[in-house]
C-alpha cells in the first residue's frame, strides 16, 4: 500500500493529467451544450500538454540554454517536449477556432446550441424531405 502511495507521490503528474483527461472527456460526453463540449475538449488537450511538459522535467533542471557551460555539466530540462507542445497548442487553438466558428453557424441555422434539440430538428428535416 505504501508502495503505491509512494509511487503516486513521485508520479503525481500522472494523477493530475489523468484526472484532467477524465474531466474533459466527461464534459464532452455529458454536456449537451456545444460550447461546453468544446471546453471539455480544451481541458482534454490541456491534460496532454501538462503530461508532455512533465515528462521533460528533470530534477533541479535549468532552462536548456547553452551559455558557456558544457551541457554535460549542468542538469537542464528536455526542450523537445516543450517544442512539441508549442505545435500542439497551435493545433489546439485552431481546432477551437474552427469549432467556435461552426457553433456560430449552427446557432444561426438551428437557433439553438443544445445537441438534443439539434438532433430533433435534424430528424424532422429528414422526415420532411423524405
Amino acid at each position: 500500500m505504501s508502495d503505491v502511495l509512494r509511487h503516486l507521490g513521485t508520479h503525481y503528474h500522472y494523477v493530475i493529467y489523468i484526472a484532467l483527461m477524465l474531466i474533459g472527456l466527461f464534459a464532452v460526453l455529458a454536456k449537451g451544450n456545444l460550447i461546453k463540449k468544446v471546453i471539455g475538449l480544451n481541458v482534454l488537450q490541456t491534460a496532454v500538454f501538462l503530461f508532455y511538459i512533465s515528462i521533460g522535467r528533470k530534477a533541479d533542471g535549468t532552462a536548456p540554454v547553452l551559455w558557456d557551460q558544457k551541457p554535460e555539466t549542468i542538469p537542464y530540462e528536455n526542450p523537445v517536449p516543450h517544442v512539441l507542445m508549442l505545435t500542439a497548442i497551435v493545433v489546439g487553438v485552431s481546432i477551437t477556432a474552427v469549432a467556435l466558428a461552426l457553433i456560430i453557424r449552427i446557432k444561426r441555422a438551428y437557433g439553438t446550441m443544445e445537441e438534443s434539440e439539434i438532433l430533433v430538428l435534424d430528424e424532422s428535416d429528414q422526415q420532411g424531405s423524405a
Binding site: 472527456l25 464532452v28 460526453l29 463540449k37 438532433l119 435534424d122
Partner: protein, 615 residues
Amino acid sequence: MPSFPPALVLSLGALLIPFLRGPLRKLYLLALPIVSFAALLATPQGSSFDYEAFGHTLTLMQVDKTSLLFGYVFHFAAFVGVLYALHVKDTTQQVSAVIYAGMALGAVFAGDLITFWLFWEGLAFSSVFLILARRQADSNRAAMHYLLVQIVSGLLLLVGIALYMHGHDGATAMARLTPSGSGHSIFNLDWAGPGVWLIFLGLGIKCAWPLLHSWVTVGYPAATATGAVFLSAFTTKCAVYALVRLFPGTEELIWIGVGMAGFPIFYAVIENDLRRVLCYSMINQIGFMVVGVGIGTELALNGAMAHAFCDIIFKGLLFMTMGAVLFRTGRMNGSDLGGLHRTMPWTAAFCAIGAASISAFPLFSAFISKSLIMIAAAREGYHLVWLVLLFAAAGVLEHAGIKIPFFAFFAHDSGLRPKEAPRNMLAAMAISGLACIGLGSFPDLLYRHLPYAIPDYALPYTWPHVIQQTQLLVWSALAVGTLMLLRFYPPELRSVNLDADWWYRKATRAFVAFGQGPLMRIFGWLSKAVHETIPTGLRYFARNPGGAVRLAFDRVALGWAGLFRGMPAVDAAQERLREDQARFAETTPGAAWPISTTVLYTAVVFLVFLLVVLA
C-alpha cells in the same frame, strides 16, 4: 487451324454482337457456335491452355472424353438456342445468352478448380439477364431470387475450393474422373474436409437438390420465351458434369437423386404453369443423373452422362415448344390453353416428339440413356432405388408426356387461334426433334462418345427391355386416361375435350406453397426461415442495430417481469416497451448517433484496450 478455347470464342465473340445490325447480326449469331465447335474439334485431347494469374496456373482447356461429350451437346444447345431466338431483337438477351453458353463451355473444359469457379460465377451472372430481359416487376423479383441463390452457390464453392487448397498444399487440379463403384461416402472421401463439403453443397445448389431447388422453379418460368431454352440447357447440367468429375460413386448422391426423381413429380402434377411443370420435370430427370453419379460404376456414369446429353436436347425441345406457345399466345397456364393443335400443328407435333423422348418410349432418346442408369442400379442391388426410379419413370409420362402436350395443344378448346410458330423456331424445334429420334434409334451415335464401353447386357434394344418399357408407359397412360374417364368426365365421350381439365382449372387462381402435413410443415418452416424470417429479421435489425438490441434486451427482461403482472411499475414498463416497439418501425434507418454516443463507445473501447494491455 490454331485451336482456341471455345469458351473464349463465344464469350469474346458475344461482345461484338452489339456492333452488328440486321441480317449480318443474325448470320454472326449463327456462325459463333459453329466457329466455336470447329475450335473444339481442332483441339487435341488432353491439351491445355495455361494462364498465370494471381499466383496460380489457370488451365482453361482440358479435353477428355467426359468434357468433350458435354462440349458437343452444349454446342448443339447453343446453336439450336440461337436459331430459336433468331427473331429476337433485344441485344441484352443475345449477348448474355451467348456469353452464358460460353461460360458453360468454360466450366466444362476447366482444368482446375479456380478456373471452374470463375466460369461457374460467369454462368450465374450472364444467365440472370435472360430473366431480367422480361422487364417486369415480378420477373425482376424472380431474377433477384435466382441471382442470390446463385451467388450463395458460388461463394460456397469458392470457400470450399480455398479450404481444399489450404488442406492440399495449394493443389487446384480438378480431380480426375475415377469410376470406383459405390460405397464412397462424403464422410470418408480420401480428400475429405470442410472444403469438400462446401464444394458438394455449392454444386448441389446448382444441381437443384431437394430444398435447394427453388431458384429453378422460380427463375426459369419467369424467363423470356427464348431465355428459358438457354437456361434449361446449361446451369444444372454443368453441375451434373462437376458431380461426375468430382464426386463419382459418392453414396449420399444416390439418396439425394432418389429424392429428386421421386418428389418433384407430385408438384408437377398439380402445377398449372406449364413451364414450371417442365422445371419440376427437369429436377426429376436430373435426379436420375445424380443417382447414376452416386452409383458410380462405369455403366452408371455412362448412364448419367448419356442422360444429361439426351435431356439437354429433349428438355430444350419441350421448352422451345412451350416458348412458342408463350410467344404466340402470351399465356402459359394449362387452364388458359388448349386446342392449339388446330393452328399450331407443327409445334404440337414437335411437342409430342419431346414428350415421347422424355417419357423414354422406344426409338426416342431417353429410352437409350435412362435404361443405363436403371440397369446400373439394379446390378448393384439397389432395390428400393430401382423401384422409386421406375415409379418416377412412370410419373414422367404422366406430367411431361401427357400433361404438357395434352393441356397445351389438345384438351378443351380455349378458343385461342394463334399463328404457327415463326420459321426459325420451327427449324430449331425440327433439328432437336430429329436429334431426339436419331439418338433414340441409333444409340451407337451417342454410345461411342461415352467415356466407357457399353456392355452387352446394357444395350437398350432387346425384346424384354422394349416390351417392358412399352408396357410400363402404355399402362401408365391407361391409368391417366382411366382416371379422367372415371372421375372427371361425363358419360358422353364427345365432351372429353371440353371438361377434361376442371381440376387443373381450379388451380388457375392458385399456386403451390408449402403448408400442412408433417412433412410439408417442416418444408414450409425451412422455406419460411430462408425466404422470410431471416431477411425480415436482418432488415429489422439493420434499421437501427443499437435500438434492436436494446428492444430485445428489454423484451427478455420484461418477459421475466411478466411474473409480476399487475404491479403498476411492471405494467407501465410493458406499456413503454410496446410503444418503443411501435415507434421502432418508423426509425430512420441508421439514424445519426449523438456525439455523446460515439464518445461513450470510444471511452468503452479504450477502457477495454487498457485492460487488455495492462492486464
